[in-house]
Amino acid sequence: MMDDSAHSPHPSDETVRLDFTLNGEPRTIEVAPNAVLLDVLREQLGLGGTKKGCDHGQCGACTVHVDGQAMNSCLRLAVMCEGQQVTTVEGLARDGELHPVQQNFLECDAYQCGYCTPGQMMSATALLADERIGTDDASVKEAMSGNICRCGAYKNIVEAIQKSRAQLGHDAARKEGAA
């Protein structure tokens, strides 16, 4: 949707209208031109699951999905999400049931303090859905290297991801069988 912003800049002290989809729900909000997606999620929309760690794209705590791709929400202007689908950790569970990745992080003890966990799970769910990323442990570790865990729960994080892969594969096969 190209409004007049295409031709006259929004001054820094005026807000910009943003139409996007957040966790499956269409949303229209007004944001400052310099508002970063991470801060809008946490401060303006009250979704505190997405965490601020380094605020410079180095730790991965702020990872969300934008149109299904894992991205650092700390390095993205909210206005850049016009027309896009944004999913946060709050959008992973369905109908009150945890996503298999969430359930397996719990069961595999894939965290200690938990601060990096939402970002870890957003990267994990994205990589499991991405056919371009290999399925072996080495590929998982490489794909997850943008998420730092200071507690050092890496081993259990890989285990939780691989356990989820097995279950998600099973679910997909079951769905195919039913259809």
């Binding site: 190209m2 912003s5 295409a6 031709h7 006259s8 800049p9 929004h10 001054p11 820094s12 002290d13 910009v16 400052a32 031109p33 310099n34 970063v36 605020d55 410079h56 794209g57 991965g60 990872t63 791709q69 894992a70 991205m71 650092n72 700390c74 390095l75 993205r76 202007l77 206005v79 850049m80 016009e82 990267s123 994205a126 990589l127 371009r132 990323i133 570790k141 490489e142 794909a143 997850m144 290297s145 943008g146 998420n147």
Partner: protein, 337 residues
Amino acid sequence: MRTFAYSRADSVDHAAHRTMPDAAFVAGGTTLLDLIKLDVLKPENVVDINALPLKRVERLDDGRLRIGALVTNTDLAHHPEVKSHYPVLSEALLAGASTQLRNMATTAGNVMQRTRCPYYRDPAARCNRREPGSGCDAMDGINRMHAVLGGSDACIAVHPSDMCVGIAAIGATLTLQGPDGEREVDFADFHRLPGDTPHIEHDLANGELITAITLDAPLENARSHYLKLRDRASYEFALASCAAQVVLDGDTIREARLALGGVATKPWRCSDAEAALVGQSADKASFERAADIALKDAQAREHNGYKIPLARQAIVRALRNAARGETPASETQESQA
């Protein structure tokens, strides 16, 4: 974070004709927002170019590959044309940054990324690149990560890109759109050496936009390898990296392409070393001679002397792996290391 005015460009012409003071284009945002937060970059106007139709990858009739400025690093690394005809570029892209950053970062944005020199990134430090004439705290500071090739008395900051090293070894042309129309620039000439003017980093004029990067036609029957050496196994900048392509006739090298990363102030093509390889047999002695030629002008400061033997080994091993046409398992780990 400081404030700025924001607009969305709806056409390349519109973006290029916009003449605003202190304007910056934003694509992936991974460099721009990082550096605005640090108060290193201070644009008054940010122009969002993400709606522009610059996301195509197409093979041209002459065999070259035209890559739209906004193709993401992830999509480019996995593109079938790149994987089959330019594997060295795919390897270089996947050796860079993290999954999240590659999903955001664009091809032209990667070309435009700024140095990771900690003194450049710290407004309290002296830096000729950030603030012309202020001096350089890296010269006698912690310069373990700094350049041994292409530096000057004013600046020894490393160009941080992996992708650009792959492109340097392939050869490419940049298409730029500006207020006065379109022009093309050889990729090798786009990034400037720091010299006395390290703040002038590239050949882009005010208001100009990179719209495409066109790779030279693939070298026929080339074998290639991208070797990256770094402090940890993933998600770290190179201490030394090497993109190598060789065309063999039996055991004799017919053609070679060589570029270095992590050790130079711009993506570093080693033309003299390439010439010295042609006609030689593909063995360790030839590779070592080429490496010595590539590094003959290398100059170290207090903490970065180790980069000269490290780069030498990177060249020898990248050439050896390329010539073998295989990546031994042990080298795979190291190349991710």
